[in-house]
């Protein structure tokens, strides 16, 4: 295919999409090569732009629209859903699930991050020392992260089973009583946290490990010449130099943990009561949890979640910028 063919084709595509108002190629007798190059470049980008518009922007718009309407089963048939402004949001904010869901989302997110990050960091520092098998063992650590979340959640659900679970059997042998991990309100959150922390450790380990690799060896040599011990080296050198990578790891963790759905849904479904219900779980339960779907309130809950995610997202981008500058 020649370059001219691509140019005319892309011009057609771009104008059809209405993405940019362009000067038609015929107006200029000899388009500058630079201008043409950019047109070709846009042809390469066009599929992704169209994709983003159709499969990101449009679903998000539909979801937003949904949250302002009263969408019922009837609406699927006759296509009518009255516009009710903020009624769904008011309903959701007044719901007795709102307060527990907000607290649970916060607890789940922050406790997960604290443990995932600190355990990941300790392991990264540990595996950074070269010893036989260190690379192989580090690779094995990744397996839990790559497994389908549904699989991990099922395994944890069985391990934490009250009567036949290995965890309670272990507690018994060391003389502690049984715990109803998944079925008692005070332990259900702990259970889903355990599973989620376990799943998040590999991700933290890999990113922090790559951060350690970027710290120049000379810094450590200088520190050891000055007689710093292991603890001092960690606190005065490793930790501060790792700060940009740590910030990104934590913020990514925040954004990803807010989304967590599979683990909680499989292990507890947010039960008992609302003791492990987060915004993601609440939204799913309203929309698809069985019975009659309440899609509009579900969309409203989802949009509250997106506001939270967006705040963290902005923080993430700010930290990225700082990292690029430094």
């Amino acid at each position: 295919m020649t370059a001219t063919q691509i140019t005319s084709e892309s011009a057609a595509r771009v104008t059809k999409d209405g993405a940019a108002s362009l000067v038609a190629p015929s107006r200029r007798r000899a388009p500058k090569p630079r201008w043409r190059e950019r047109l070709v470049a846009s042809a390469f980008v066009a599929p992704v732009v169209i994709y983003l518009a159709v499969f990101y922007a449009y679903p998000l718009f539909r979801n937003l629209d949904l949250s302002f309407r009263d969408y019922t089963l009837r609406s699927f048939i006759d296509g009518n859903a009255p516009f009710v402004w903020f009624d769904n949001y008011a309903q959701v904010l007044a719901d007795s699930t709102f307060a527990p869901a907000l607290i649970n989302t916060a607890v789940f997110t922050f406790v997960s991050i604290i443990f995932q990050f600190s355990i990941g960091l300790l392991l990264a520092v540990f595996f950074y020392r070269h010893f036989p098998l260190s690379a192989t063992l580090r690779a094995l650590f990744l397996v839990p992260w790559l497994l389908p979340l549904l699989v991990s959640a099922s395994v944890w659900a069985w391990m934490l089973n009250s009567e036949s679970g290995i965890v309670n059997a272990a507690l018994e042998t060391i003389g502690l009583g049984q715990v109803n991990w998944l079925t008692s309100p005070q332990w259900s959150m702990v259970s889903v946290l355990l599973a989620n922390i376990w799943i998040g450790i590999p991700f933290n380990l890999v990113i922090l490990y790559s951060g350690l690799q970027n710290i120049p060896g000379e810094v450590y040599e200088a520190a050891s010449l000055d007689g710093a011990n292991g603890w001092q080296t960690f606190w005065r050198i490793t930790f501060p130099l790792l700060r940009p990578v740590s910030a990104i790891t934590i913020l990514l963790g925040l954004v990803y943990t807010l989304k967590v759905f599979d683990i909680i849904w499989i292990m507890t479904r947010g039960a008992p009561g609302n003791s492990s219900t987060t915004f993601a779980i609440w939204s799913y339960r309203l929309g698809f949890g069985g019975g009659s779907p309440e899609l509009s309130p579900a969309a409203a809950v989802g949009n509250l979640l997106i506001i939270l995610a967006f705040v963290f997202g902005l923080l993430y981008i700010r930290s990225q910028r700082k990292l690029v500058e430094s």
């Binding site: 295919m1 846009s42 392991l123 010893f131 094995l140 990744l142 099922s154 990113i207 499989i266």
Partner: protein
Amino acid sequence: MRTRGRLWKTAVGVVLTGIMLFPLYWMINVSLTQPNELRKDPPNLFPFNPTFDGYSRVISEQLPYLGTSLVVGLGTVILTVAISAPAAFAIAKLRPWGGTTLNFVLLIAQMIPGIIMAMGFYLIFFNWGILDTIPGLILADSTLAVPFGVLIFVAFMSGIPNELIAAAKIDGAGAWRTFRSIVLPVSRNSIVTVSLFAFLWSWSDFLFASTLNRSGAFQPITIGIYRYIGNNTQDWNAIMATAVVASIPAAVLLVLAQRYVAAGVTAGAVKD
């Protein structure tokens, strides 16, 4: 003395890895346990008297689900690479209009919670008549990987020497030819990385599968397991056998493509 110190570390490393991988061991152990021993207290730590009944049930009952997941996974990989590689080439080397904005949008796109996408897709797919179909699920699953794919490809393709592309141009190759014959072959590693993640994410997806393809004729393995848990709370050895089988792609890919996995995680997270 030095060697002893290092061996000591290896021992600690092995113990830590053992703790981390214990749930996986437990999954395999339970999958091989006789059904009448499942409720034993304390449970058997080792399958002394293994049974493969769970696995034969997987093969007889879950094979269609596995097939669907394979088709959806491969479809997602093809769609993701086809859309993201050309765009990334343009952003990295051709400087299109709005390239920086696009990068920013892709970064944001990755942060949108899946449940919100699922809700929008549900209405749209209902209107389009692709609810409960494999193509619908492929489209939905690709949204997990496309932004990631573009960002990884951009990070990689920026590293291709400009001279290589200039040389192709001098030889008379257009942008498309350059992309196909120069950029794509050189980018093999990043194609492997993106394909790997696109496949694993769509293989693991439960949220889209359960909202957009819950009652279709062909359902993915995550729905298969979910149904099992719902219907057979007694048959945990069959459930765990299915879980083991569903984990095989992750294990195989990790063994075959270890370094791509690490490269994908770090590049996806740290570069923009």
